[in-house]
């Protein structure tokens, strides 16, 4: 998931010419436990590097959703995996839901591309980075043998994102 954060920030900073900062939080050790990637994208210099009022949040697990949804700002977006997050929080924000992990597994045969599908969804829904930028950023970070797979995953995200309407 942190990789997805890096990719979207890189899309903004390198390919869209914006300012971007990506940071992350881990549990007490750097392996295992919940982790969080934070991305700030702006037209201006970014000083404070952490996300305090979140415009868009992606949660692939119930634990992450429950732990972090409170920071979503009024009118913001919460994107959840419909299979994983059953207790859907309520608040002054839009919620979109899609079976991200199972699509990665069942349609593309690789659970690991769930984060790339997520990037497609977020890009399509928020337009925070351009489609071209996110594609370039994704493809620059994956090994040659997996280019097609990741491209497919990203485009599934684009398509499904376009068809998705908020559940609340």
């Amino acid at each position: 998931m942190i990789t997805a954060g890096i990719i979207i920030a890189e899309a903004a900073a390198i390919y869209d010419g914006k300012k971007a900062v990506q940071s992350q939080s881990y549990g007490p050790e750097s392996r295992g436990g919940a982790s969080k990637a934070e991305v700030i994208i702006s037209d201006e210099d970014i000083d404070y590097p952490k996300a305090t009022a979140i415009d868009a949040m992606l949660a692939l697990t119930q634990e992450a959703c429950t732990k972090y949804y409170k920071d979503i700002k009024s009118g913001g977006l919460l994107l959840i995996d419909s299979d994983e997050v059953k207790k859907v929080p309520t608040g002054d924000f839009k919620i979109c839901s899609f079976p991200i992990i199972s699509t990665a597994r069942d349609v593309l045969g690789k659970e690991i591309v769930a984060n790339i599908i997520s990037l497609g969804l977020i890009t399509e829904i928020t337009r925070i980075v351009s489609h071209e930028a996110i594609e370039k950023a994704v493809l620059s970070r994956v090994p040659a043998a997996f280019l097609e797979l990741n491209k497919k995953a990203l485009h599934i995200g684009f398509e499904k994102g376009a068809a998705l309407s908020p559940i609340s």
Partner: protein, 400 residues
């Protein structure tokens, strides 16, 4: 690696890039969160450049190995975090005493002890100055962004060669793990200082003969200059001495070589400081929050300004003194229980009020905390959870 191309990079990676750009060709280290990426990238990059990478058995061995390599003629570096930095203190002292140029990176995490390994802090800023025993000089740099880590790492190598001393780069976990865009300069675009080597005949070489100056040229082992290096107090020829006059002079010179050159070692950023009525003194990630706060405060009509040291040691006395003479109060936000605030207080010397904002819950100090402290919103900054932090913040640090 293509230079002059914008890349999106982690702070720890930028540190390695800076080191290699500066000519570092030896890395010895031991894995420790949150500095390990520096080591991993060195392990990948150095062999390709014909440099040496070695994973040592602990941090003590690491700092000793880089000093050994430096005496063999290579620019060398190690990177670590709190527990490892504690282990390195004796080796740092040796490098100060023997005047061995090398660079030590400390990516600060929460402590004491194992603390919270992935949690950031700024609590080693005093240790970086005073960690090793005995009177000794210290050059400590505090970058605050990915791009700055690159440039400060280059500067660290330059200063270590110029002054024949270990240089410490101190940044917190947030800056170390954060990613930002950075453009690596092309070769020759940034000045690189090479070691001053002796020009005299080997038989005349004395490794500590400063000849009226403060820094002697340094030969490498194996080049015909068969000299002696020791951690004992030594005379100009490098051999131990128990002559009290020589010992005193050696200690004075060690400190003087940094003190007399501090104008050249200092580096500050001033942000809206010219007409500021409230000064903020902040380094590392806290300075980023402070910058944000300054802009927000200015919008509200409050004349706040920031003094941000990139060289925290030697302490920027003059800049702080000047600021203290102009502002009503100086606010010092830091992710510890109060360290640099006391230096600011010492230098301000009663000219203005000095207030600290401390935070140790591994979250960065938020801009709102700084703004609240300045606007007097309850005069209590909201974030520090602990009673102790609140007490310390509330305590007026000066009577006047």
């Amino acid at each position: 690696m293509a230079n002059n191309k914008k890349r999106f990079m982690q702070g720890n990676e930028a540190c390695t890039e800076g080191a290699l750009y500066a000519g570092c060709r030896f890395y010895a280290g031991y894995p420790i969160t949150p500095s390990t990426e520096v080591m991993e990238i060195c392990a990948a990059r150095l062999p390709k450049m014909g440099g040496v990478f070695i994973q040592m058995e602990d941090e003590i061995a690491s700092i000793c190995a880089i000093a050994g390599a430096a005496l063999g003629g290579l620019k060398s570096m190690t990177a670590t975090s709190g527990p490892g930095f504690s282990l390195m203190q004796e080796g740092l002292g040796f490098a100060c005493m023997a005047e061995v140029p090398c660079v030590v990176v400390n990516v600060m995490r929460s402590g004491p002890s194992t603390g919270f390994p992935t949690g950031p802090s700024q609590s080693d800023v005093m240790q970086a100055k005073w960690g090793t025993h005995g009177d000794h000089p210290a050059i400590v740099l505090t970058p605050a962004s990915v791009e700055e880590i690159f440039h400060e790492t280059v500067r660290a190598f330059n200063l270590s060669e110029l002054y024949r001393t270990p240089v410490i780069i101190l940044y917190d976990e947030i800056i170390g793990h954060m990613r930002e865009a950075i453009t690596i300069p092309g070769p020759g675009e940034v000045e690189i200082v090479e070691r001053r080597v002796p020009s005299c005949a080997p038989s005349e070489y004395k490794p500590y003969d400063v000849q009226g100056g403060e820094i002697a040229p340094l030969a490498s082992y194996g080049e015909g200059y068969r000299f002696h290096v020791t951690g004992l107090y030594h005379a100009a020829d490098g051999f131990p001495t128990n002559n009290t006059k020589l010992i005193e002079e050696a200690c004075h010179r060690l400190l003087r070589k940094i003190d007399d050159n501090k104008e050249r070692i200092w580096k500050n950023e001033e942000y809206y400081l010219e007409d500021a009525e409230i000064g903020i003194f902040a380094y590392g990630v806290s300075a980023r929050s402070a910058k944000f706060a300054v802009r927000e405060l200015r919008k509200k009509g409050i004349k706040a300004g920031l003094l941000r040291p990139l060289t925290i040691w030697p302490f920027p006395d003059r800049a702080v003194e000047e600021m203290a003479g102009r502002v009503k109060a100086i606010v010092v936000p830091e992710m510890n229980m109060g360290q640099i605030v006391y230096e600011v207080e010492r230098v301000a010397h009663g000219k203005c009020e000095v207030k600290g904002i401390f935070r140790v819950d591994t979250e960065p100090i938020r801009p709102a905390q700084i703004m609240d402290c300045i606007t007097g919103n309850g005069s209590k900054p909201p974030a520090p959870n602990s009673k102790m932090a609140e007490m310390m913040v509330e305590r007026d640090m000066l009577d006047g």
